[in-house]
């Protein structure tokens, strides 16, 4: 970058729970504590929201201060000594937890948040063992449908107001409020509106308890039954970092994963809802080869790979590759190598939609390009004009479909090319039964790989569930085809190796990308 050189402000020395840290002036105690390895318990604070300091959970003891101070809004001073675990701080937290529980219903057995609930967690960690709230009644607020996907269970609400602040300041749509006063307060919604903002689903994640819940996830799975895998949203070119949550090999939801450079703490509702394709049961289960009789029959991988290899070796002239927009960088790169001896027209499918920015965060939007790896494909030389590619297929000697999702019309235009069609697919295309081979591949949840987002950030994703037993990642399929009959062939050992072998990405391995990605293009 070409910014003028100036000396940064001097760091401040602060001691938190006996550990010295150095932080820039203006850092809050709660953020400085993170550097000291301490998470100060809190509810209303959130690094992507303005801080109102209302929950009072983060009160800490600072030497020489007469009262406990809220760590979320108190900035550090030079030489400050902070105690988050002192007797007074712990008693204050115990007090807050007890106060929160008096009106909180004992819903844990039926509440989706159980197991990932911050009220449960902190009460277990440092709350009172029993309640002192006697026969007094708890206040009652009816559950409300905030629609389309969000329910508000008012009784569980701890009035942290994260949802209101998110809608006001980050989504930019002031449709929620705090209504009434005192212990009658609840979260209200504009009577004529719904929570249908393209990013509204984030309030469910922001809610520390089970007050704002997703109807899609309602009673679907228990948090402790879930495996959570770091991944990247396959919905658009923004490349929001997500966690794929699975139970017994079924994807039950996407949740945001924090990445301050890409999506901060949020994902859009479209991406959030876009996990269903990962659970499809109508998968291509085994490699298939066209028999002499002209039928696709199940075959061993060796046989199928050899058949594909034979087609490619004998091919001359041109080739066409049509790939899914969700294909990994490794898959696209290695498949492309298969036709390097031919004049190749390679395209990926990028469905288009309407852009929906998240106002309060710079450079964050549901992007019009509804494909996660458009930039990666572009760096490899792939285009996006699928129709033109299909036209060229008529003259091509080889057509490779890499999990392309074609409609009946497009399939019809490709039909009759039987001799040149190699299909790699997750779901077998109905109208293309005359391909030479159909090779079962993995969805992005069933493999490791890299997507490059629209800002040129290469981000890795991990395997979240098992693939059908005989399915293989497309980079492996391509590398094996390329290496068929060549014992010295350089076959990548794993996805990271496959990525390293692509010069377009600078020889980086997955480990070099870390878990927040790395910019590989301008």
């Amino acid at each position: 970058m070409s910014a003028p050189v100036s000396s940064p402000p001097a760091l401040l020395n602060v001691t938190i729970d006996g550990i010295q840290v150095q932080v820039p002036p203006g850092t809050s105690i709660i953020e400085a504590a993170k550097q000291a390895g301490t998470l100060v318990p809190h509810y209303c604070y959130h690094p992507s929201l303005p801080s109102p300091a209302v929950c009072r959970m983060c009160l800490v003891e600072v030497e020489k201060f007469p009262k406990l101070v809220p760590a979320c809004v108190t900035t550090v001073a030079e030489g400050q000594v902070v105690h988050t675990q002192s007797a007074s701080a712990k008693k204050a937290r115990e007090g807050v937890l007890e106060f929160l529980l008096i009106n909180h219903p004992l819903d844990c057995p039926i509440c989706d948040q159980a197991g990932e609930c911050e009220l449960q967690d902190y009460v277990f960690q440092e709350g009172r063992a029993g309640t002192r709230y006697a026969n007094e009644a708890k206040r009652y607020n009816p559950a409300e449908d905030f629609g389309p996907d969000i329910m508000y269970v008012g009784n569980r609400c701890i009035l942290c107001t994260r949802c209101v602040r998110f809608m006001d300041h980050v989504a930019g749509e002031k449709v929620l409020n705090v209504s009434e006063r005192g212990d009658r307060a609840y979260i209200g919604i504009d009577a004529s509106k719904q929570l249908d903002h393209p990013w509204a689903g984030n309030v469910v994640d922001l809610c520390p308890v089970g007050s704002l819940i997703s109807k899609d996830f309602l009673h679907k799975a228990r948090a402790w039954d879930l495996d959570r895998t770091a991944s990247v949203c396959p919905g658009c070119s923004q490349g929001c970092n997500i966690s794929i949550d699975t139970r017994d090999d079924t994807v039950v939801r996407f949740r945001p994963r924090a990445n301050l450079e890409v999506n901060r703490h949020f994902i859009c509702d479209t991406g959030r809802a876009g996990y269903r394709f990962l659970n499809r049961g109508d998968r291509l289960e085994a490699p298939m080869v066209r028999s002499d009789a002209g039928q696709l029959v199940v075959a061993d991988w060796d046989v199928a790979l050899a058949a594909a290899s034979a087609v490619l070796r004998s091919a001359t002239g041109s080739a066409v590759i049509i790939a899914s927009g969700r294909a990994s960088a490794e898959a696209l790169g290695h498949v492309q190598r298969l036709t390097s001896h031919l004049a190749t027209s390679a395209v990926i499918q990028v469905p288009m939609g309407i852009e929906a920015p998240l106002e309060g965060i710079p450079n964050l939007a549901l992007r019009a390009e509804r494909a996660p790896n458009g930039r990666g494909a572009e760096m490899l030389g792939y285009g996006t004009d699928v129709d033109a590619a299909i036209d060229r297929a008529a003259q091509a000697s080889v057509v490779i479909l890499l999990d392309a999702d074609l409609d009946a019309d497009q399939e019809a235009r490709l039909a009759g090319l039987g001799g040149a069609l190699l299909v790699i697919a997750t779901v077998p295309p109905e109208g293309l039964r005359d391909a030479v081979v159909m090779l079962p591949t993995t969805t992005m949840a069933e493999e490791q790989g890299v997507y490059v987002n629209r800002d040129g950030r290469a981000q890795r994703y991990s395997q979240a569930k098992a693939a059908p037993a005989l399915a293989r990642p497309a980079w492996w399929i391509a590398a094996e085809i390329a290496g068929c009959g060549d014992d010295d062939a350089d076959v990548p050992a794993d996805a990271s190796d496959a990525f390293r072998m692509l010069p377009e990405f600078g020889g980086l391995r997955h480990a070099d990308l870390g878990w927040v990605g790395r910019v590989v293009a301008g």
Binding site: E173, K174, V175, L176, N177, V178, S179, E180, R181, G188, I189, D190, A191, S192, K193
Partner: protein, 166 residues
């Protein structure tokens, strides 16, 4: 909350009322600062603030209805339900409470025919509410009836007071 009749909502901020509101703008650097005055104007015109009233205020002040509702529900004096023609607020906080305010409250409930606090009398004439400290503790019991601030009300004076309100 619906209006008591099916009559369509009549906007408040038209003509001279709108002019009055806009004239206030010169006194404040933001539009939003007109919110409490605007809610008062709706209540003065209609006797209470309905959801349509909240929506109208929101539209006139370029705020969202959710925001306006959040503010309106905070303040006790804005009535968000239809009230009787005369709203009676009796202070019963301790300094008045220890000087007979509860008997005054009960006398109002009895003589108005309101069955309970907050419930409008059958003839639509009165609603009786308990108020917190009205700031006239030395003149117990103070009572606010509409815009009339009465001092030194006793159970004996209640019937006479009520005759002044149609």
């Amino acid at each position: 909350m619906s209006r008591p009749t099916d009559a369509p909502y009549e906007p408040v901020f038209t003509g001279s009322t709108r002019e009055k509101l806009e004239a206030l703008q010169a006194q404040y650097p933001t539009r939003q600062a007109l919110l409490l005055p605007a809610l008062w104007m709706v209540q003065e015109a209609r006797g209470w603030v309905s959801d349509e009233g909240l929506a109208e205020v929101a539209a006139v002040l370029d705020l969202t209805p959710a925001y306006v509702r959040g503010v309106a529900t905070f303040y006790t004096m804005y009535h968000l339900h239809p009230m009787g023609r005369n709203v009676i607020q009796v202070c019963t906080t301790s300094p008045c409470g220890m000087c007979g305010a509860e008997q005054v409250r009960d006398a109002f409930l009895r003589h108005t025919g309101c069955v309970e606090l907050g419930r409008t009398s059958a003839d639509g004439r009165f609603t009786v509410l308990e108020s917190e400290c009205l700031g006239a503790c030395g003149m117990a019991t103070p009572v606010l009836i509409n815009d009339d601030f009465l001092e030194s009300v006793s159970p004996e004076t209640v019937p006479g007071i009520l005759t002044r309100y149609a």
